[in-house]
Subunit: 682 residues, 2 copies
Amino acid sequence: MSKLTDVPKRILIGRALRSEKLGETLLPKRIALPVFASDPLSSVAYAPGEVLLVLSIAGASAYHFSPWIAAAVVVLMFTVVASYRQNVHAYPSGGGDYEVANTNLGPKAGLTVASALLVDYVLTVAVSISSGVENLGSAIPFVVEHKVFSAVAIIVLLTLMNLRGVKESGKLFAIPTYVFVTGVFIMIMWGAFKGIVLDDTMRAPTADYEIKPEHQGLAGFALLFLLLRAFSSGCAALTGVEAISNGVPAFRKPKSRNAATTLFMMGALAVTMFCGIIGLAMATDVKMAEFPARDLISNGAPVGPDYVQNPVISQVAAAVFGDGTFFFVLLAAATALVLFLAANTAYNGFPLLGSILAQDRYLPRQLHTRGDRLAFSNGIVLLAGAAILLVWVYEADSTKLIQLYIVGVFVSFTLSQTGMVRHWNRHLKTERDKGKRRRMIRSRAINTFGAFFTGLVLIVVLATKFTHGAWVALLGMVIFYGTMTAIRKHYDRVAEEIAAPDEPGEDSVRPSRVHAIVLVSKVHRPTLRAVAYAKAMRFDRLEAISINVDPAETTALKQEWDRRGINVPLKILDSPYREITRPVIEYVKGLRRESPRDVVSVIIPEYVVGHWYEHFLHNQSALRLKGRLLFTPGVMVTSVPYQLVSSEAAKQRARKRQEWHAPGSVRRGMVNGRPKEPSGRA
Amino acid sequence: MSKLTDVPKRILIGRALRSEKLGETLLPKRIALPVFASDPLSSVAYAPGEVLLVLSIAGASAYHFSPWIAAAVVVLMFTVVASYRQNVHAYPSGGGDYEVANTNLGPKAGLTVASALLVDYVLTVAVSISSGVENLGSAIPFVVEHKVFSAVAIIVLLTLMNLRGVKESGKLFAIPTYVFVTGVFIMIMWGAFKGIVLDDTMRAPTADYEIKPEHQGLAGFALLFLLLRAFSSGCAALTGVEAISNGVPAFRKPKSRNAATTLFMMGALAVTMFCGIIGLAMATDVKMAEFPARDLISNGAPVGPDYVQNPVISQVAAAVFGDGTFFFVLLAAATALVLFLAANTAYNGFPLLGSILAQDRYLPRQLHTRGDRLAFSNGIVLLAGAAILLVWVYEADSTKLIQLYIVGVFVSFTLSQTGMVRHWNRHLKTERDKGKRRRMIRSRAINTFGAFFTGLVLIVVLATKFTHGAWVALLGMVIFYGTMTAIRKHYDRVAEEIAAPDEPGEDSVRPSRVHAIVLVSKVHRPTLRAVAYAKAMRFDRLEAISINVDPAETTALKQEWDRRGINVPLKILDSPYREITRPVIEYVKGLRRESPRDVVSVIIPEYVVGHWYEHFLHNQSALRLKGRLLFTPGVMVTSVPYQLVSSEAAKQRARKRQEWHAPGSVRRGMVNGRPKEPSGRA
């Protein structure tokens, strides 16, 4: 990489790049928290708004239910945190939801969780970026005026950064996350101080608006359904909580305990922020509507389609700090940045999960090598493509996208917790130590409650969100599930086909002789090298073959062959139709027919070139011949490479590619970008 | 090919398919004429209209110049025919314009002609299809109402037919061509009879229209320029005349004389039809305008943008036979069909020229094999893509496309005739026989006049058409020229790099020993086969290598290896980062460092699969490893294929592909779709 291309990157992520030391150590809690919590903490930027938005369907008066809904979310959050603290202790090697479900509930449950997680990663990108754009837009209107464009541009930027292999450090996550958390807390405390102590009246920008209810005077079952829907939306605050359970190996010792503590801190921060924002929204009279253009009434008239409904967090900030003030802009920027970081975590998680799935043969085997650049790139491009599609279709509207989001999260919560119950049951069968048994029973109780509660939420989410978009997420899961099942079936079928028989079979029979053929077109260095190598191998029979497509050239070749005294017989195959492949195939088949116990070794001089376009100019006939030869049993094909001068460029590129670091390593406890514990699954 | 898929094709081109006998014999003149003449004869469908259209710029009164222009076209036609009769005699092996220019004027002239011809083939498709659609549209209005769509659809259809490899027969060309020629002659004679003998007044559909001249009262240089422009447009009648000179080997003996006679017949037919149509157009008061919407006046008002200006031939047919009568529709259909056949000739010519250029290393070498399906397909797709682009950009308007067409034709006419002059000069230097000398001098005179006249026309065309679109054709030629020059330079550079030194160099040095490595991941049939083959080769050293990415799997592999008593040492390479490529590369490099005079043979078991998507699931790591290994000097890579059951499908496909026939064979004197004289260039 030249110094010049470094400059924009340095500007983009500043000094952090140079602090390579951080990568060499495991994460202390104060760094681990922001690394893992950008996703769940950033959810408080959109979750409170979603609650108000759904309640507004019954009119602004329904807002008084919001504390109850917040309370339900808090209970759920602590249930989930408590449950995952058990995961962290039980799987210190970093057992993610996929592995917990796979190990304890069997491959089908595992695959269901994997499908849900893959869909979730896509939605994490789509939702976080859209919400980030909305938050940034409250300070910079241009961004929200070109919402889809801005969102797609940021996805493309993140994608390029990740493809390029930006080396990470904990600080990169720490600074924006702490700025964001501190900002929100200052806002909550300053708001409380102003409201309670100074008795100052803070008014949100939408305080004077009225809401036209979609349904007047909802009651009974309809009201209950609405409240459940609002609760489902609030559950968006829980997305990303499970991330720590994947990352235990990245913590300092005692790993599990540190991870559990961090998890608790994260939960506490999240609920405090969530409740604080809802409280401030109540106090400052924020108004949010599902269809603001129609249902938000200002001075007796609807605000119309040009109205931009800012996120709750930015409306509250405007009320507390004042619109456009330094603190307001700082908080908007920090919120957006944390949301973009949250999206970035999906860029790390998606290919990582892909590599684990590839290990279990649900995805192409070459994705198996973790941190492998090509595998990583494929995953990244797939993720970005799907996210851009969603952003495009849903016009970067976070409210619409959130309808799709929560299903997957709760599918994996529920199955993971159910798996944990099985896990404890299995261990309780053999464990005799009383103290340990007591702790296990306690853990099992927590996980049972977690499974039950998250399962209930899953049903609620499915019931209230299915027609609003959750079906899209389910469809995505079904597609992933089906594809992965088909791939696994294919691998199983092939594995059965190629399984070595117990008795030595025909494949172990050593061929009686090897008949080697060097393909020759002209006498040049690659040919000479191929002939020299072939001679060194002492085949039972060795001959050179040339296809006669042009009699004059063939005559010249023969003369040159004799003149140089190359002591390998040269055989000319006639090709009246100027084909290359057919005469060789037929000759090889003829040899096999003559002596079926022999094997034929075809040696092809091959050019090694440096630029992609040169591939169109070289080796094409050889490649096609090779492709056809491989179908012929009893044949092997040897390439003798000849490195052209231009190949040096490609070699340099390949070498540089080897020095590449897979992003996301900081979350997995890497040393210098390499995993500390290669045998454990992260 | 199943019987079922045959049915639509049979419907499409009828019985002709079954008459395979025709392909076995060389062409008699009565079949050769339609085979080669569909392109030049079909030009009379648009050329007369173009003349009138240009003249109309000076008003309908300028139409009285049209007989003079027709006369000039006739003189030019006979000049070109006479010139090419010399080519046919001088190059009985079928020397096309490219080879004549290349041999006699040097590679730059040859490449210029080649570029011109490649552009011409694209334009032949675009112009013929557009004009065919216009002619068909005079009978079926739907076609002309969706002109671009219809034109693109027909190009796609032709492309698919050619890619599929439809077997041709002379009859396929003969029937529509003879119907077309007969139809035009009946029209001319019936029209003359009605007009002169019956003294019947025939009125074209546009007879009562008036033309608003673009320029009133043109005179002097401006008028001359306009007449020259009209003449240039009329020269469109000459496109395709050169085709016979490529096809001499396809004629019955005496080949050259028969070809020359056919050429003369073609010229005579073309000029008679051209003049007859112009004469009838005059007699029936056809009105054509360059911008009919604005300049055609009906009852005092412009006809407006909805007016469709039908081709002259169809207007004349409407006047002679009556609009919508059987003869009218038959002639329109035959005209369209002959135009589509003319387009089809470009589908044969383009890849054929490509193969000749590849032989001279101006195009990727693999295109060299003539009739090779892949090479052929690439050419076809490139041709169709370029033609579709032109049709799209120029809205399938034959008048606009013709502005681009004629430049290339006259570039190759002029250079080919100049080349012929050189040819005779060279032969005259050595020829002593008086009679032969006399004939040569006569031929030279004809070619000199041809070169001079066509060169003059080229200048006229450039001067009058450059801004009207000829610059696009020239740009296309420059692009082809530049690309082909660059490819040739690359090949020359590589040829120099790999040229074998006269003294035995380092490439001829036989390595002292061969150290072989079999890559092993599991003990299965492919591995066993690779080990058995490797053993048969008696390397100086042989070992099996496995990469330890999963300790459990590695242990299992070791145990299985020992249990089976495979007497090849198994070495485990550690890979802490789960990479496959790097450890192998480093191990191989280590071996090379230890003993630089040895060579390393890496043996990779490879799966052979049958479906394209299976490639994503297998061999990817092996392929990438191979790609990297080829950069390492002193290494050769051997694939030992293991054919999975599914590979049978691919094998069948490959076999079927081998039975494929390159379209266009009938024009090149093929026996059963194979060339009769494989050594000659057709």
